[in-house]
Symmetry: C2
């Protein structure tokens, strides 16, 4: 079995998500917890399909909520590129959580991080990308009154103060062990995790009382919150709860969708025709010839088209099952399925891009500055 | 010979200031440069007495100035305690530089640093101390229009952006080698040097053009500016020039005056009577008995009272020489000299504290925020 790597800055290999839960020391979302969440968020396909599948202290935060203590949501985006579909996935779930629990959401744009960890990007680039990415967040329909978006560099008057409180309690040894830093790592990258921890305590700082925080994020971000949770009690705050999703697959059929490979990622800013082309070029579980596929069927488990349906585009389980069966029986050819998905994506992008343009006028309603 | 240590956070042993110039790779202020400075700042006792004695690129910045390119001054204060007389020493010189060259001064209060490097201090403490220390700066009479004071945590919207530009170009290896960090150092302390570098580029950033910067500081701060100067050309800025002073002696007759030993430091907030008591208890170069001292004389070179006169209180060289000779001939007893110095310090503190109280109403004229 190939060795796989999952850190906030590197994901490769065939990820075993159960193994990851062991490695990181998180908990699987079991049937009981899933049922408990269902009371609030309904029969959500991302829970049903174990896309959001792991957590830390989710039961605890529900206990708090049920006793009348509201939490805040906190999630984020590393603005290294335009938004792609993989980024939207946890945002959809976050929006559903926000509506279900009627809570505030802090949305962090880590323009500092993407600058510090990427030699190709200038701070102006990550700043501009933050604002471009914010348009996608707004286009999804997050409520402006309860949703506050901020850039690390623009909200530093507030965040840096919290970050140094965190940083004082994290040694280089810890950062090295958790993130795999070396002596060649730059000192901004070493410090950065403090900036990602800070928003977990933001509401508590602003409200001057301890407020629980729930962080929906992809599992590759967990390392930051392990550190954050260790520091929280020292600072007198609750440990943030976390709910983790799997990583959205690439059109190349392996690893996560990565903005550094634009041909295998669909960006929200792609022209619908461009997106269609990318889908048509995607890796599938098809056989070498149409003839062979009609005889032996396809393999949906390794097919990126199938994964796209499963993770995002086909919410109906019956239809999902039908797609799977038809593929396996050789009744649904890859070209045909690609057309089906491409239609859905074109339709989604056309509608999203319209909302995204309208978002330009609303952006100031969402931005948090000091 | 005892090994001595000089870092921004640790000073001990008998400092050999010439050796330090070798260690740090700075330049001595030679007669020619001293003469050149004299044209602007006059016959300044801190140059005459080699209290400001070392530099980096001071000739270069004077060349620039003489060609019509004005520089900015940048100095700072680590707010770990109330201000003591040792802190005032370079500030007096900085003020004289500001007036001589008619230039802007940025005054950084590193409230983050003193919090990160000191387990006893909370961020609220270093913030409050910053404002207390700012009163002393204002009381010295810096011109409000040309002097801007800021706290790192309160000006982070501007500083953090510059700091990450610096931090991206400094590896942990470098920070470790320059500052002696270990794996147990906290990640905020590791990052901090970037925040101390940032103001060297502040005017360039705010004015959107390259502006030379001169940093007057005690020699123990040089490490930060070595790093800063290495990074400057990568960022497209001039390397800041630096002019270094020696460390103000303690009343215990060794090391530098340290706020952690309040009995051997005179604070600007000390009641004049308290200051007098501290002077009366100071370490001197006197003999074991009055009789012996009258016969053999005292040793001014190890005497803290003599050092105080030399560094700060007796500006007249002839009088200084007279004090020295009288001491060595056994004509000036320690008790008598202590009374003379205590009178001067009492007088200074009384006047300073009056100005310091008046400064409370002016503080907002000086503070830089964003």
């Amino acid at each position: 079995m190939e060795e796989f790597v999952v850190t906030p800055w590197e994901v490769h290999g065939a990820i075993d998500y159960f193994e990851l839960v062991e490695r990181f020391g998180t908990q699987l979302i079991d049937d009981e917890l899933s049922k408990r969440l269902k009371k609030y968020i309904g029969d959500h396909q991302m829970l049903r399909r174990n896309i959001f599948y792991s957590h830390r202290d989710l039961n605890w935060i529900l206990d708090k909520y049920e006793k009348g203590e509201k939490f805040v949501l906190y999630t984020g985006r590393g603005p290294s590129s335009n938004t792609h579909l993989g980024h939207l996935m946890p945002w959809f779930f976050t929006k559903d959580l926000q509506e279900a629990f009627d809570v505030k959401l802090y949305f962090q744009m880590t323009d500092d991080e993407k600058f510090l960890f990427n030699n190709e990007l200038k701070l102006d680039d990550t700043r501009n990308l933050s604002y471009e990415n914010a348009l996608d967040i707004i286009a999804l329909g997050f409520a402006p009154k309860r949703t506050k978006i901020f850039l690390d560099t623009e909200y530093a008057n507030v965040l840096y103060k919290i970050a140094v409180e965190v940083a004082k309690r994290v040694t280089f040894s810890t950062a090295k062990a958790v993130f795999g830093f070396t002596n060649s790592t730059n000192i901004g990258s070493i410090f950065f995790t403090s900036m990602q921890s800070a928003p977990a305590f933001l509401e508590s700082v602003l409200e001057k009382k301890n407020v629980p925080c729930l962080i929906p994020c992809a599992i590759d971000q967990d390392a930051h919150f392990r550190v954050c949770r260790d520091v929280a009690p020292i600072l007198g705050y609750y440990k943030p709860a976390v709910v983790h999703c799997k990583l959205f697959p690439s059109l190349a059929g392996s690893d996560k969708m990565s903005a550094s490979l634009p041909q295998t990622s669909i960006f929200t800013t792609d022209a619908p025709k461009t997106a269609r082309k990318k889908v048509m070029n995607a890796f599938t579980g098809g056989a070498v010839s149409v003839k062979e596929q009609k005889e032996k069927g396809g393999n949906p488990d390794i097919c990126s088209i199938y994964q796209y349906e499963y993770y995002l585009f086909e919410k109906d389980d019956d239809k999902m099952k039908e797609l799977r069966e038809k593929c396996k029986r050789g009744e649904l050819m890859c070209g045909e399925h690609k057309q089906i998905l491409a239609d859905k994506i074109e339709k989604f992008l056309t509608a999203h891009q319209e909302k995204r343009e309208k978002a330009r006028d609303k952006i100031e309603d969402y931005m948090l500055r000091d």
